[in-house]
Symmetry: C2
Amino acid sequence: MYVVLVYDISQEKNGARRCSRIFKICKKYLSHIQDSVFEGELSNAQLERFKQELKGYINKELDSVILFKSRQEKWLDKEFWGKEDDCTSFFL
Amino acid sequence: MYVVLVYDISQEKNGARRCSRIFKICKKYLSHIQDSVFEGELSNAQLERFKQELKGYINKELDSVILFKSRQEKWLDKEFWGKEDDCTSFFL
């Protein structure tokens, strides 16, 4: 499935360390397309592993992590209204 | 159509003012679900007006604004892996 993940990690309670760990795990599974936004194609098994890895670092009282899932990438269109990052993975 | 908008506004060149204007325009058209993430249902006409309003404030060299569009909200599923903001609009 095609997923877009957005996070907002609080600076409280050692937030910088959490943020750095969460960033690294997201980069392992997805492409980084904006400050705290990632996208990519994952199987159900990959998504489950990704979730388990992140779970250990997300503070459920402080941090917001939202995942948008679409069964097919073609169901989602993407527009850039500002600059386009070099690291962005484009739709085919 | 159902849209998700994510932005990353640079602090350079009067960025705080741009960010505040962009935030207000996004709030006018969409629901605020995370720090710099908005979602909502827009018609083509509304999307066009929204884009035109934002255009005046986005610095195309510095700011990143990405819009994900799905023809139907049901094609996109949403999961919260951290806290859920009170202001979030949930799927039916």
